[in-house]
Symmetry: C2
């Protein structure tokens, strides 16, 4: 299993779209989630901080939701970028997605102090919409399963941010 | 509409269960979400911080997921506590819940710099399980809809945290 993500799609997002608290490389306070390919699956690796507790020793579900959310939009971007003939780390700017729906089943308590891996399988359900089927692993244990529905970012978002 | 929560269920959680990054009053770094009754509905109010951006001007979905998550477990605790004859702010310790599932539809971009209100309707689906049907409002606009399935915290959690 990939132990680190070399070429993350978030590294290629244009600066205007790199302020996300979850995955924006320019957000000083954020999590800096990074998502890349591992063959046909997408991978995001993150070790929660000590304060990200639910109860002592276990990770807070909102952090998992955040991880899965940005993993989902990043995975959709990777998938459409690849469909368009491009890989992260290349010269082409990747498409940017927003989350339409987030569905998570929490299967087991998630232990703190170890890296978590979100492993995703992108499914195109429409040329502008992908479902990202994701499992969140702590070691070899699947602690959560999720489906993120990600849609290509509407032009209205772009217009509002480039005013 | 309630503009602030006077008696929050999280104020009554025992100290051992008050370290949640989302709603723990003892987590120095966390969000400190607080959930109370407004007649038969539950309410959590929170103004995202400047860094909680998706793209500039809009709130990051992971923050909404976090809000909905703790609002859900808090609402379930309120509901079971009331069923047992108790209200927050009383002497009785409330039951503590964990999130089994989190399902969110993001309906509209969520503007930054205004208080968000999660309004919930608890539905008992089992004596130890509640679905919390929630709408997240920015002003009068419903920006997200969610259902949180919350289960009474298993004894194994308690044992592990009181070792």
């Amino acid at each position: 299993m990939t132990e680190q993500v070399k070429h993350a799609i978030q590294d290629d997002y244009p600066a205007d779209f790199s302020h996300c608290y979850g995955c924006g490389r320019l957000n000083q306070e954020g999590h800096h989630f990074r998502t890349g390919w591992n063959e046909d699956q997408t991978v995001t690796i993150y070790t929660p901080k000590p304060e990200h507790t639910a109860i002592p020793g276990f990770v807070y579900g909102g952090l998992i939701a955040s991880l899965v959310d940005c993993h989902g939009t990043g995975s959709a971007s990777l998938a459409l970028h690849r469909k368009n003939g491009h890989e992260p780390g290349g010269a082409q700017e990747p498409p940017r997605f927003v989350t339409a729906a987030l569905n998570i089943d929490f299967l087991k308590p998630i232990p703190q102090d170890i890296p978590l891996k979100a492993i995703g399988t992108p499914e195109e359900v429409h040329p502008k919409k992908f479902n990202i089927h994701t499992k969140v692993f702590a070691g070899d244990t699947v602690c959560a399963k999720a489906v993120v529905t990600a849609s290509v970012m509407p032009a209205s978002f772009t217009q509002q941010t480039t005013e």
